[in-house]
Symmetry: C2
Subunit: 184 residues, 2 copies
């Protein structure tokens, strides 16, 4: 962020009075621009013991497999976001179920939230952001071609829980931030 999106003046990065973190501050209009983690929401859609996967048509990780997921929009719930992403990426109508995983992706400044889901019918096709969409058995999941660590974490917990006949939720943290040297 270089300019104030309210008045167009240049912003400064400094700690405002009463705060303890650097923020982008506009000295022209007084606005303080906070930056917070974004929510990415998705689901693991199942149909008759198979899971719906999408092969990404867009960067990052074009050509790799994932479950339907994307940035949450204003005005929708997490469950609505998961269902919308399934419609957009896989042209699939899902019923969103229990909370499956919450992944703090610190380097990307994102929180990923995934739900269990069921497909209403074996009807699906590649949306604009997918190269292809497939219903795969657990044994067919292309583990070496999964797009993101949060997707792999989520799929593994999904299968373990299903085998155990339970539906708990799981938290984890992924941190690939560059470590800064602390010496002088």
């Amino acid at each position: 962020m270089k300019f104030c999106n309210e008045c167009g003046a240049q912003v400064q990065l400094r700690i405002p009075e009463g705060d303890n973190l650097p923020r982008h501050v506009c000295d022209a209009c007084g606005a303080i621009h906070y930056q917070n983690p974004r929510l990415v929401v998705g689901c693991v859609p199942e149909y008759e013991d198979r899971i719906l996967l999408c092969r990404r048509a867009i960067e990052p990780r074009r050509g790799y497999w994932t479950v339907p997921a994307g940035f949450m929009e204003n005005g929708e719930t997490l469950q609505e976001a998961a269902a919308r992403e399934s419609r957009e990426e896989a042209l699939a109508d899902v019923r969103v179920g229990s909370l499956l995983s919450v992944v703090h992706v610190l380097h990307a400044e994102q929180v990923h939230v995934f739900f269990r889901a069921t497909l209403a019918a074996a009807k699906y096709a590649a949306g604009a952001e997918s190269l292809e969409v497939a219903l795969v058995a657990a044994s067919e999941i292309p583990w070496t071609e999964i797009a993101f660590p949060s997707t792999e974490f989520t799929l593994r917990r999904y299968l373990e829980d299903k085998a155990a006949g339970r539906e708990p939720y799981h938290f984890t943290t992924i941190d690939r931030r560059l470590k800064r040297a602390t010496g002088s």
Copy 2:
């Protein structure tokens, strides 16, 4: 948003190619500025059957009671955010436990996430954003002076669950958006 925070030019609100929602688009540098819900994270800290409440020293809802909560920062987990807010608002050291509630606050473009928590000791005091902090029994909760609907929802579920000896999570949605007339 009126100006591009990358180049300072005026932005236009329109639907970009390949998208289906209006975005703030900069025709000067090509940036598309997405706006997404922000995460507010808090907890219900308990100590010997009493709950830690804070009376707000800041707007909105100055003078009303709430549990420690605030905007999640980049670089932290949800649990770390809940613990940090407890330190900042109540000078309290909490151990964050299970997920308690997720509240979609559609009119505010926020997702509120609350955890159960325990106080390490009966040590607390008003932080800069609190007028006072108190450990109260369930029967002493000032229900008519609770700051936000998400706080009330969360406290009620907390007490019900505690009475039932269970720790489930709860989703709900609060929508106070102005309804637009749809006639011509």
